[in-house]
Amino acid sequence: MMNLLLTFGEHPGWFFVVATLLPLLSFVLILLASALWCAGRAYRNTPGGAALFNLCGGEERGRTAAFVATGAIALAFVFSLVGCIRFSAQQHGFETAIKQHGKALHQIAAKIKETSGEAKEQLEAKARTEEEKLEDQEKRWADARKTNWQGHFDWLRISPKGIVDADSGTVLQLGFKIDSLSAIMFVMVTFIATLIHLFSIGYMSDELQPEVEDHQVHTAHGHLHRRGRFGRFFMYLSLFCFSMLNLVLADNLFQVFLSWELVGVCSYLLIGFYNERQSASNAANKAFITNRIGDAGFILGMLILWTHVGTFNMEELFQRVRAPLNDTHGAVEGVAGRIVRGNLDANNTTKAGQRFTIANDGSDVLLFPHRPSAHYHAIVPRVSDNPKPDQHGSMPYWMLVAAGLGIFLGCVGKSAQFPLQVWLPDAMEGPTPVSALIHAATMVAAGVYLVGRCYPLLTYDALLVIAYTGGITLFVAATIAVVMTDIKKVLAYSTVSQLGYMMLSLGVGGWVAGLFHLVTHAFFKALLFLGSGSVIHGCHHEQEMTKMGGLFPKMKITALTMLAGVLAICGIPLFTGWYSKDAILAQAFGFIYVHPQHLLLFLLPLATAGITAFYMSRMWLMTFTGKPRDEHVFDRAHESPWPMTVPLIVLGVCSVGIAWGWPVWDAEASFLEANVHHAQYPAILADFGHIDYSISEHHGEYWIAAKDEAQNERVFAYRNHHLAGNIAFVLVAIGIVFAGAIYWKRVLDPAEAKEQFPRLHAFLMDKWRFDRLYSVIFVRPCLTVGHWFAAFDLRAIDGVIHAVARSAMWVSKWDGLFDHYIIDGAVNLVGNTIYGMGARLRSVQTGFLRSYVLFLVLAAAGIFLALAYFVRMAMAG
């Protein structure tokens, strides 16, 4: 026990490993209990079986599974929180020191420029000592990260027999690597998952009954009756949480991919939780298949990296692809932290390899040694075909782009981005807590998180694709959300839209902003979904907003907490959404300032901010204000029980205050954002410039960036943060006022708008006709080809098989005849002959003693005669 505690003390990264494994443990426990229950149930007539059956819950199994799962995830939250606090504390200490030294160095460098002579030499000496201190601190921090917050072990070794070189790139590893992003993600995921578990205990209580009637499934005998699935639900939730946590934890792409697929499976199981409903099983299939498309890209990307770089470990990948940050000779200056392009000179080949000439539009990418020596004398000596860990290599540039896009395609699938967004709204068929989990903490977050994680692997071209994908997605989804009337569908599209924001932000270099938004969004989206779940639960599974209205007095807690969520997502100042969304908009603003040709990347999110405000307000106002639209629903509506409202309140508080910093009114001062900021890759600063100390008080960036200030997106973004935020706020206000006019005061009639633009409305209701498009392009051709194959199977293959079978039957018929007549005939002939002879000989056996005597006498005479004859012959002879 002491040893264990000491281990935790020395390697606090294990807190996160334990937090990851706890939901897995809960999953295994529930699974085992269920298996035992099933086994016992089959033998519940025997005493042993009955004991087992009752031990595992009996006919009414109660809430044990929920308590186990909730306990596990709550414990995981505690572990994550402790780990996160410890990490932040350690990081803060080092970063502060480094920042001080960096600042001093910066000031000295500025002074050096102004002075000359002896004073300059003194200053330079001072700068050197500062630099040494800085390097020392950096080294210590790097060591601490390596020993305390990382770990891995070899899982599968696929190298040829006998070769045990870990560097040969043929080892699959399991490992963990904690930085402030994953620490925050851990806390966020476990916290929200805990609340969702708690909420589910109330929401899924219908499933506790031994027999549940599903009103949405009609069978020949009325509604479907089935066994309650309370335990199964929590089992899946646990596995879901484990998968997501493992994804966040992973330090290599392969482990990410594993969890990635597990997340997919869990979403499949949970979306199809009511699998008897046709719509639910279709939605589950749709989600799964759509994700498969993305995952195919992910696999391709992974394979490209595996082939060219030879490792899955992310840190090693980054070290290979990106140029090192610093060296004593200044050889990397100008390209530090960047992807280095150039050309291979086939004519200039030596033993060490080919010469690599750096060029901005070169066709190859330089791969750096992932065991860098401290000093680079020259950035690139020679490029080897089959580089060792301490040698340079190269790969085609387009391959790196393809790898990045492949990984991004996986994220497109998971995060429901533009071409593959169709599954997410259908995923509303799952129970509402699942929707909350998918939308807030786990599945869709995984895509954005992975893009963030793999950022250094993404080239400028790939990032542009990401930015545009996000831009299109956020706009398309927002417009569809405007016309949706199903409360969960509105939220689903808002999720898609918000994910688009995140992707766009990542694409334009707003790494911090995008992931910051991911975290804040998780809180208010979980809140909104759980709130909608509460509304649906209170309205007896009514999801149509056109039948709601005026529910505020009936469910005040739900309404108020949801209002907090709505304001957060709209980006009202001081709510969490404001901090993150303004950061994204500012980033996009900075990007179009440097690249005016990509103006769309700012206009789309800006417009969508207004649209978002409109449809979110519309949702809240339609649900809670005005006159009830359906008396029946209104009369039966009620507030939800405490297990559902408590998570709402907690999440409501978080939605308001999770992103606060000091001062609260400063959009730049978010404590959470600063923490995410620590995890930012140097590569981002290399690609998009840095922020000078003179203007940034909150962020500790100190190293030398190559870009001049005029071309610096980040500097511009920082300087114009408030401008972008203000423009957005105006649009948001317009949207809210507009929504209030239509749905609260009802001075404008939405039906009129519908009549005015019937085609637009139909187009939006049809979700931009994506489903129809895919049906025409993919589904129907697939089905047609499938039918062809089926026909081929039925006619050609089955025909051949039938012909073979028929000929076999024919042969065996002849064989049977041969058997019957020839072989059996011969055997029977022998038997019959012997039988006939016996039958004939039978008559000899008269049973009369006297006739036997006669035969005896005759025989004696014969023998005598013969004997006499032979004796005589012998005598004569």
Binding site: L854, V857, L858, A860, A861, L865, A868, R872, M875, G877
Partner: protein
């Protein structure tokens, strides 16, 4: 003397033959038993004639005095009205007689052919038959009781001198056999007990 012996032989032979024939031909079982008695007595007479006094007296004692008494007991025990005279058909008679004649023909012909009247087996033998003490010592295991000499009755090439022989083991076997048979007979012929209900 020879003549007397010859006459005695023919008388005894005739008696034996006639009595045996009578046994065959009579239908009455009681009479058959009587005829058999005489036939056996005649045979014993022939034994005496041949000088085998011990065998002859044994014949008289065991056969006539023992076995035949058994047979007569059997006749008396079973000779109830219908069983005294049991006739068989003429056809059966014909078949039996024909078979018997054939057999006799075969036997006698082969006998005469193999032992022609001139052969040395038919010449007079002067040696006296051994008395019962010799038989007794043979039965008690004395090999020297039997005379030595070349075996007769086989082709000359295979002729060889006999070895001393004794008959203790057959004697013992026969005696044990007799015991077994008597026990078996007693068992088989015992009165059936009805199981008390």
């Amino acid at each position: 003397m020879d003549t007397l012996n010859d006459i005695l032989f023919y008388v005894l032979m005739a008696t034996t033959c006639i009595c045996a024939l009578a046994v065959v031909l009579t239908q009455n079982i009681v009479r058959a038993a009587a005829w058999l008695l005489f036939a056996l007595a005649g045979v014993s007479g022939l034994f005496f004639l041949l000088g085998a006094e011990f065998v002859g007296s044994t014949q008289l004692l065991v056969y006539v005095g023992g076995t035949l008494v058994l047979v007569v007991f059997g006749v008396m025990l079973t000779a109830q009205g219908p069983f005294v005279n049991m006739r068989i058909g003429a056809a059966e008679w014909a078949i039996a007689l024909a078979v018997g004649l054939v057999l006799y023909g075969v036997l006698s012909t082969s006998l005469i052919i193999s032992n022609p009247p001139q052969s040395d087996v038919n010449r007079h033998v002067d040696a006296t038959m051994p008395d019962s003490s010799v038989l007794g010592s043979s039965l008690l295991g004395q090999g020297q009781a039997s005379p030595t000499g070349f075996l007769t009755g086989m082709p000359p090439a295979m002729r060889r001198e006999r070895k001393p022989m004794a008959y203790l083991l057959p004697f013992e076997i026969v005696s044990v056999h007799l015991l077994v048979v008597l026990i078996g007979a007693a068992y088989l012929a015992r009165a059936k007990r009805r199981r008390a209900v």
